[in-house]
């Protein structure tokens, strides 16, 4: 017995078109969860105005004030000897502090994200601590440790080692303040990636180091890059902690932010903003890099930290 039915159409294939359509559906807001046009307009305007007013306006002001007296004055302010030595010191400090924190950040993320152990959340809290400690307090604790009246003060004096009011103190304070940035960027990403890739590499006979260099590192390189950039921007821009330990010695222990403060307090406003504009530029490059990374590698770099 057979059944004969007039066919209208040949059997369809269910390939990409179906998938594409499913994707469209999940990505768009459904009519029900869409706010009305008025509410949208009001909220967008409110948010945009708030951000423009509080965030963008100060940024614009930096460049406006810096260039107000003309381009020649601008460059003169950047090339005078005190400014140059401040720039040099800032670069030196960042060149020491950032690699230290990168090494720590990777080690901490490896231990925390790839292993389970008791007291893990307490450890994470400790790593977050510098976010919540006032930069002035951060500076103070190093003064109490290494200053003339500090715990190790007599010992250091006896051996003619100067930490406070000198470069080592500035580096230490900077390291403290920028301590969590790399770790914080890496931990959520590495936690979400799990340990499967590494386990596969190990079962294929790779050594621990090879596994890290060829499997783990490529997986986290973009988050690491952003962590490094953010850590660097904070390191170069740190003010409160450095201010306490530096002693403000012109041409010797003045970093760029401290130089900005001195110029500003001397009413040398344009020069202050000129130096500030370099730091603002650094911030912009940092944010632009992050935005580009997000555009190319997805919304999240895999790990937008719970707190920065």
């Amino acid at each position: 017995m057979s059944e004969i039915i007039l066919d209208r159409q040949h059997a369809p294939d269910l390939g990409l078109a179906a998938k594409a359509r499913a994707k469209i559906r999940t990505r768009r807001a459904t009519p029900v969860t869409q706010d009305g046009p008025w509410l949208r307009a009001i909220l967008v305007t409110l948010a945009a105005a708030f951000l423009l007013f509080f965030l963008v306006l100060p940024l614009v002001a930096v460049f406006y004030e810096a260039l107000r007296g003309g381009i020649a004055t601008y460059f003169a302010a950047l090339t005078e000897p005190d400014a140059l030595s401040a720039i040099q010191l800032t670069l030196t400090v960042a060149a020491i502090a950032v690699p230290m924190n990168v090494l720590f950040g990777i080690a901490a993320a490896w231990a925390i994200a790839k292993f389970d152990f008791k007291g893990k959340s307490f450890l994470v809290t400790l790593i977050d601590l510098p976010f919540s400690v006032s930069p002035v307090v951060a500076g103070l604790i190093y003064v109490l440790l290494f200053g003339a009246q500090g715990l190790f003060g007599p010992f250091l004096q006896a051996h003619h080692i100067q930490v406070i009011f000198a470069i080592p103190g500035i580096v230490l304070a900077t390291v403290f303040v920028t301590f969590p940035y790399v770790a914080r960027e890496l931990i959520p990403l590495m936690e979400s990636q799990g340990t499967l890739d590494e386990e596969v590499a190990l079962t294929l006979g790779a050594s621990g180091w090879t596994t890290f260099w060829r499997v783990t590192l490529p997986n986290i390189k973009w988050a690491l890059l952003y962590g490094v950039l953010l850590c660097n921007a904070r390191a170069m821009g740190e003010f409160g902690a450095v201010s306490v330990v530096s002693g403000h010695i012109r041409g010797y222990t003045n970093t760029m932010p401290l130089h900005v403060e001195i110029l500003y307090n001397e009413y040398n406003i344009q020069a202050a903003f000129a130096v500030a504009s370099l730091l603002a530029l650094l911030a912009l490059v940092t944010l632009a890099t992050k935005t580009l990374l997000e555009i190319y590698f997805g919304e999240n770099l895999g790990g937008k930290a719970r707190r920065q």
Partner: protein
């Protein structure tokens, strides 16, 4: 000993990485902090109390804590709106605004400080607009609050954003099929789920505001009893070689920071227990 602390894994390097982490944490963070605690313990509770209740210290603590609270409140409201708009709406310039939210993380505080001071000074862009009304922003507590709003905003927005992204739209649709109006859905279904994130962001912004120094001192005016913040008073005491006074204030602020961290962890734990991952 380490192996008894952790669950077994075939991945190597735990001891090495864990060792580096602990050593570094100990040397950079814990040792210096314990120097502070050690010094403060010499004062005793009564000594701490005596310094904390000095009129000038008390006034500075009030300014720092009070304005940090006010700024965190402003940020809780606007930060929630900003996060909602950035996650839920598609509009030109969205990416730019999203990037701008991180600005306070990346812009050095001193730079932000002089920029805010110049905008809100009586002859600045905004200051000159309100000056005819007899209002003064820079060099008053209001100026401090504005600086604290600036530094605190990303904490709130960046804490709420991931929660909003994870929030499935089907919950809102379910409320609609059950007859709830959009407003009711937003208030009774969406907002309660955001509360832990808002509180966490609030606490973080508050902690940051209490300790903030660089962006505040340029706009504050730094008038004792009126617009002098606690961190500045630490610096003032240090410059006068009053290490004891500085230590006392710093200890109080460190205690507050610890309390905030504790509160954040508590909020997260309660939220995880109550909401789970449904």
């Amino acid at each position: 000993m380490l192996s008894s602390l952790r669950r077994p894994s075939i991945l190597p390097g735990f001891g090495f990485a864990f060792g580096i982490t602990l050593a570094y944490l100990g040397l950079i963070v814990l040792l210096p902090l314990s120097a502070l605690v050690l010094r403060a313990s010499g004062l005793g509770v009564s000594g701490l109390w005596a310094i904390a209740t000095e009129p000038r210290v008390l006034a500075a603590l009030k300014v720092s804590f009070g304005l940090a609270l006010a700024a965190a409140t402003v940020n809780a409201v606007f930060g929630t709106i900003v996060a909602w708009v950035l996650v839920r709406y598609e509009f030109p310039g969205r990416r730019l605004l999203d990037a701008a939210v991180d600005l306070p993380f990346a812009l050095p505080t001193a730079v932000a400080g002089i920029a805010l001071a110049s905008i809100y000074a009586p002859n600045g862009w905004v200051g000159s607009l309100v000056a005819p009304l007899g209002w003064k922003i820079a060099f008053t507590p209001l100026g401090i609050a504005i600086a604290l709003v600036f530094v605190g905003l990303p904490f709130i927005v960046r804490t709420i954003q991931p929660v909003l992204l994870d929030l499935e739209s089907d919950v809102e649709e379910a409320a609609a099929t059950l007859g709830a109006s959009r407003l009711r859905t937003l208030l009774q279904v969406v907002l309660p789920v955001l509360v832990p994130a808002i509180l966490t962001g609030f606490a973080l912004a508050f902690a940051r505001g209490v300790g903030e120094y660089g962006s505040v001192i340029f706009i504050a005016g730094n008038l004792p009893f009126v617009s002098e913040i606690a961190p500045l008073l630490i610096v003032v005491k240090l410059e006068g070689f009053d290490y004891t006074g500085a230590t006392a204030i710093a200890t109080l602020m460190l205690g507050a920071a610890f309390l905030v961290l504790l509160a954040v962890n508590l909020i997260q734990a309660v939220a995880r227990r109550r909401l789970g991952n449904v």
